[in-house]
Amino acid sequence: MRIARSIAVTLSLCCVFLLPPAQSQAADDDGEPTIVKDPHYGEVLFYFYQEDYFPAIVRLLASQSQSNLDNHVDDSELLLGGMYLSYGHHLEAARIFERLLANNVNPEIRDRTWFFLAKIWMQRGYLEQSQQALDRIEGELPRNLQREALMLQAQIMIDAGDYPAAIALLQNWQGETEWARYAKFNLGVALVRNGQVDAAEEILADLGEMNPFNDELGSLRDKANLALGYALLQDGRPLAAKPALQRVRLEGPFSNKALLGVGWADAELESYQRALVPWMELRSRDLLDSAVQESMLAIPYALAKLDSISQAADHYLNAIEAYYEESNRLDRTIAHIDSGDMFREFVSADPLGSTGWYWRLEELPDGPEARYLFHLLSTHEFQEGLKNYRDLKYMHRNLDEWQQSVDVYANMLETREQAYAERLPRVEETLARADLDGMVDRKLEFDSLLNDIESSNDWLALATPAEFEMWGEIAGLEATPALSADIPEAAEARDKIALLRGVLQWDLEKQFRDRLWRIRRNLRQTGEALAQTQRARRQIDESMRQQPLEFAAFSERVYSLEPRIEGMKIRIEDQIVEQRAYLRNIAVGELQAQKDRLDIYTVQARFALAAVYDIAATVGEVSE
């Protein structure tokens, strides 16, 4: 009997990829193993452990409807919920968990499950559902999950704009763990958004000065410094903002914004020469970044302040040219997206081997839009939308394959029906020839005859043909008239014949019981064979009665499935169009926002350039 992981572990596995490695190890080790008592349950696990959730769910649903999982009723329901979750079918998963976990004896599994549901709903933007799932957690989660759950709660509050509640929740966080630091950051952000910049300053500065022991914390430190720097800049405190911004690492996702901010802090302090240093550094970086775009305006502004009017004019012209080129690239990318090619490339670059929650696009397709998509793909909205788009494509392909199979089944069924119709008359003719009832009558006659033989002890009736012939010959000899003569030879012959008759009779009487038993045995076997033949006949009759009904039932199923598949495919196609439009809107919206920003910068650059020319002209007139 196969032993698989415990169902608790199985369920944890569904969610385990959401955990950092240290926690997933813990989830892997606990729980009693489950004994596989139904092979179909083991088969579901075979696909589940390969993370092929779609075929695993289909097999589980099929086995449930065939009552093939009677030994795993609860386990299979829990597993189904977990797999729905993994497949990204979180609403159905929640329905199962709500039903099943309400009475589950293991509160730990229940609380963990609600936690993972809360997390998935949060990532899919279902804030209310996420909050409800968190509210359902009754006991204490394992420490790591508890911290994450608190963070999740705070994030929901921040996203809902309830900053005071988030602040109240986060400010009691103790310790120096990684989670505590993330909590501090969120607290700082909540305070800034709540207008409490002074209180946020202390927290974010503390975080910004920490010594990070891994890349994640290094990144968090940069984020804290950047948030603090800009909060202080907006609060009109450039001198205080500068050290925070200068603490951001020069190479990293936040460095461009930090360099820009340092420059603005210097500019606010009227140290234009200093401001040029970080802004010049930005010139060599990717123009895709808004900070780099903005630096192209900031540099000539500082140069103008330093009376380098001609240089300032050159830089403004460069900026206008660069914005124009970038704007054209954006136009081309928007056109590419509008053509639908981008989404086709997304799916064609991916083999659609797996589906669901854990899928992530591993490689961006080549093309002009690729450089713009890094940012898009980092957003939950786009990623989740893309997952749905991909799942829809998978379902469409799945139904395409089924459609071909169903066509084959329809043909197969027709062929079977035809073959059956052709064979039926021959079978009926053969059956009609076989006189089963006559055979039964004859058997009964034999029974009766044998009973008479036994009751009359008619040993001669069971003689073999040779014995019977011999008996006849003896009787014939006995009746010979010559033997009646009163002479010694006749008397001797009579004695010999009497002896022969006596020996034969003795033999026949001796073998009578044995022969009777053998014949009865043969007759019994014949009776059994006859009964079996009668049963087979009844089965054939039943099959002949059932077969047309079965053909009709199969035909109905096959032909009713065809329109179902077709209808479903149409709905999926419609949904694909909608999903693509949604993704297109996000992508184009993002690119259009960049283009709008570039347009504003271009207007600003032209305006500033005119102003610079104006100054140059004024200075020229004065000098003349």
């Binding site: 390969q50 649903l61 979180h90 499935l561 999903q579």
Partner: protein, 182 residues
Amino acid sequence: MIIRKVLSCLMALMLVISASTSAQEAAEAESRDQFRSLDRDVQDLKKEVLDLNRDLFLLEEELLFPANSQVAFFISMDVGEYFKLDSVSLQIDGKEVANYLYTDREVDALLQGGVHRVHMANLKTGDHELIAIFTGEGPHARDYRRGATLSIEKGIGAKYMELEITDRIKKQQPEFVVREWE
């Protein structure tokens, strides 16, 4: 004077870009609502497609392998210390009916407790002979090939056979057990 205006414009622009949160938040909320609406539609479709797949799966099985003649052969592994499975070949009544090559991912799934339905067949009632040949890597990383034979008595109704690979710790050898599920 003009430069000061430019500065104020630029600063204002920066603030507009970095602090235009309320408009951005509204747009985000709208986008989130749109996502959720689409997501719900996709979820509904997923449910319906899964149900349809279940119906199709059952139809396929009932049509191709009617319960009366159906025999299913399953492969499972327990421990797997002394044997790394590569492939399984099945012969029924001297005729090869299945030859399955396992991927590492599938072997892992078997080791974790999964059971693979390697073959489905239609057999007439009566006696049949099954030969299963397992190939892979045995003890000391040597090529390993072993066969197991079993007589199958097929009656009326579906029959499930399990071919289980276990470790015989005493002999430090794999063992291949063929048995019927009740």
